[in-house]
Amino acid sequence: MQEPSQRRKVFTLIALSAIAFTTVLPFIWTLALSLKPADQVMSGGLVPTQVTQSVEIEGQTHAVRLLRQLPDGRYRVKLLEGEREIVDVPGPVTKTERLDVRFDNYPKAWNAYPFLSFGRAYLNSLIVAILVTLGQVITCALAAYAFARLKFWGRDVLFFCYLATMMVPGAVTMIPTFVLLKNMPDVLNWVFATEFFSREFIGGGRLLGTDSYFALIAPRCFSAYGTFMLRQFFLSIPKELEEAAVLDGCGPLGVLRHVVLPLSKPAIATLGVFTFMWAWGDFFWPLVVTRSDSIKTLPLLLQTFQGQYGAQWNLLMAASVMGLLPMVGAFLLAQRHFIEGIKMGAVKG
C-alpha cells in the first residue's frame, strides 16, 4: 500500500464518498418510506411527514384539500369535515408540515398476510438454514477428512467425480431432484407396503416428498464444493500433529475431532456462514418445491406479500426492511469475519 499524495487522497475520498452514497441512498429511501403514513408515500422527500392544508372562512380555520386555483384568483377546495362540500374561497390556503413517523407500519406488515405471519416465515427460514448448515458442515467435514487423509481403494476416482459435478448449475439437478422427491413417498410406501410415508407432518406440509421440510432441507445438506474446500484446508494441516494424536491412542474420528477440526475453525466458519446465507436467501428451489403456506420460507412470504400489497408502499417497504434486517444486521455486527471468509473461500477453493 503506497502513501498517496495529498491531492490524490482528496480525490479518492471524494470518489469513494460519492459511490458509497449511491449504495446507501436506496436503503435510506426504503427506511423513510416504511415509516411514512399511507397517504404520504408518494410525496417524495426522505422525512416522514404529514402535510395538512387549511383555509380561513369567516374567521374559522377549516382543514381542506386544495383542488385547483380558479382563473379569478380564488381557490377551489374540498372541506375535509362535515358534509365535505366543495367551495371556492378567496384564500389564502396555508400548508403545514409536521413530522409523522408511523412505526406501526411494521406490526401492520408483520400481520398483513393472514395465512403466514412473518414470525412463522422467519422460523421456517431459520429451521431450514440451521439444519442445512449443520448438515453440510458435518457431512463435508467427514468426507473431506476421508479424501484428505484416509487411503482407500477408489478414493481419487471418487474425488474426481465430486470435482466434476461442482460446476453443474443448481437448475440442472433441480428437475430430477423434484421428480425424485415427488415419487419418494409412493416408492417407499410400495417398498415397505405401508401408507406411512405419505402422512402429514406435525409442523405442516408432508413428512416426505415435495411440499415438506424434508424437501427444503435434505437435498441441501451435501455439497461437493464444501467437501473440496475443507479437503484443501485439511491438507494444509501438518501431518505430524495427527500422528502425535494417533500415538496418544486416538482413532481417526478422534483425530478429526480433537486435532483437525479445532485447527480448521476458520474454514468451518467460512463454510458455515456461506451455507447459512445461501440457504437463508434461496428462492427458486423453495418456490418449486412448496405449496403449503405453513412451511414457506421468508423469500416466499416476501413474494406473496408483493403480490398482495404491491400498491401499499409503506407496508411493502416495511416488509422489505424486515426481510433485509437479519442478514444486514449480522453483517454489520461481524463484517470482519464475513470479509475474511470471502477471501478464504476463494483462495482455498
Binding site: K9, S17, T165, T173, I175, L180, G251, W313
Partner: protein
C-alpha cells in the same frame, strides 16, 4: 457423528482386520453420509437430466391396485423437446436476454477493480467505505429486488425523482423503466452492476492487490514508469488468477439469473426480460411441461460447460504467453 463411533472403532486399523479392507471400510464410513446425499441429489440427478430431457408426461406415480406393481407416468419422446426448442420464439428470446444480462459481469468487474484500486491506499475510513460498499451484496435477495422495483417506478420511484431533480425532465414525466421493452434490460443491468460492484469481487481484488510484491513498483518507478504503466505491466498481470476466478464464477452465477426477473418484471414487457431460468420456471409452474424444462436445463448445462472450457483455455494460453 457420535452414532458412527462404534462402526469406526470396529474398523480401526489398529485392530486385527487386514489393513487394506479396514481402510476401505473406514474411508466409506467417513464418506457415507456425504456420498449418499451426493449420489441421490447430485450425481443421479445430473445423469437423470439426460434421461428426463427425452421424456414427457406428468411424472406422477403410484401403485397399481390390481397388479401391485409400481408405475410412473412418463414416456420417451426422443428428440422432440429439442426440435420444439428450435422453433420456440420464447426460448430464443430468453436465451438472447440471458446473454445480454451477462454483460453485467464485465461492467461490475471493472467497477470492482476500480473501487479496489481506490480502497487500496492509506486513507482514513477504509473499513467504513468497504462496509458501505458491501451492503448491496449482503442485502441482495427478494427484499432488495422488491425495493428496486419501486425505485424504478415511473411516477414516484427514487430513480426518476433523482433524474428530475437533476433537471432531465419534469417531475412525474420520467420513463417507465421496467414497463418499457427497450429500457427494462438496461435498468436491470444497472441494478446488477450496483449490487455487484462493491461486493465479493471487490474484496477478492483488494486481497489480490495487497499480495502484489511492492518491490516491483519501486523498481518500475526507478525506471521512470508512470502509474498507467505500473497498472498495465505489473498490477493487471498479477491479478490474472483472481480475474479468471471471478470471471468464471460470475458467468456461471450470472447465467442463472432468475429471482430479479420474477420479482421485478415477471419476464415482461413482452418477454423482453425473460431469461432461460425464468422460461424454465414457467415450464415447470405454468405450462406443466417438466420434460421440456429438463431439456432447457440440458441446454443451460451445455452453455456453462462451454463457458468454463473457453475460460480455462484462455487462462491457460495467457499463462503460457
Amino acid at each position: 457423528m457420535a452414532a458412527l463411533a462404534p462402526i469406526v472403532a470396529k474398523l480401526n486399523p489398529k485392530g486385527s482386520r487386514s489393513r487394506q479392507l479396514g481402510d476401505f471400510g473406514l474411508g466409506m464410513a467417513f464418506l457415507a453420509p456425504n456420498f449418499i446425499g451426493f449420489l441421490l441429489f447430485t450425481l443421479i440427478p445430473v445423469l437423470a437430466i439426460f434421461v428426463v430431457a427425452f421424456t414427457t408426461g406428468s411424472y406422477a406415480s403410484g401403485v397399481d391396485p390390481v397388479t401391485g406393481s409400481f408405475w410412473i407416468d412418463a414416456r420417451f419422446c426422443g428428440l422432440d423437446h429439442f426440435r420444439t426448442m428450435l422453433s420456440d420464439g420464447h426460448f430464443w428470446q430468453s436465451l438472447g436476454n440471458t446473454f445480454v444480462f451477462l454483460l453485467a459481469v464485465p461492467f461490475s468487474m471493472a467497477a470492482s477493480l476500480g473501487l479496489a484500486l481506490l480502497l487500496n491506499q492509506k486513507i482514513p475510513g477504509r473499513v467504513v467505505y468497504r462496509t458501505l460498499l458491501f451492503l448491496p451484496t449482503i442485502a441482495a435477495g427478494l427484499a432488495l429486488y422488491m425495493i428496486w422495483r419501486q425505485i424504478y417506478n415511473q411516477e414516484f420511484g427514487l430513480f426518476n425523482q433523482i433524474l428530475s431533480a437533476l433537471g432531465l425532465f419534469e417531475a412525474g414525466a420520467g420513463p417507465d423503466w421496467l414497463g418499457n421493452g427497450a429500457l427494462a434490460k438496461p435498468a436491470l443491468l444497472l441494478m446488477l452492476v450496483w449490487i455487484g460492484m462493491g461486493g465479493t469481487n471487490m474484496i477478492l481484488y483488494l486481497a489480490a492487490l495487497q499480495d502484489v510484491d511492492p518491490t516491483l513498483y519501486e523498481a518500475a518507478s526507478l525506471d521512470g514508469a508512470g502509474s498507467w504503466d505500473c497498472f498495465r505491466y505489473i498490477t493487471w498481470p498479477s491479478l490474472r488468477p483472481t480475474t479468471f476466478f471471478i470471471l468464471t464464477t460470475n458467468l456461471i452465477g450470472g447465467i442463472q439469473i432468475f429471482d430479479q426477473i420474477l420479482i421485478m418484471t415477471g419476464g415482461g414487457p413482452d418477454g423482453s426480460t425473460s431469461t432461460i431460468l425464468y422460461y424454465l420456471y414457467l415450464n415447470i409452474y405454468k405450462y406443466d411441461r417438466l420434460g421440456y424444462a429438463a431439456a432447457l436445463s440440458v441446454v443451460l448445462f451445455a452453455i456453462v460447460l462451454a463457458m468454463t472450457l473457453v475460460n480455462w483455455r484462455l487462462n491457460k494460453s495467457a499463462r503460457e504467453a
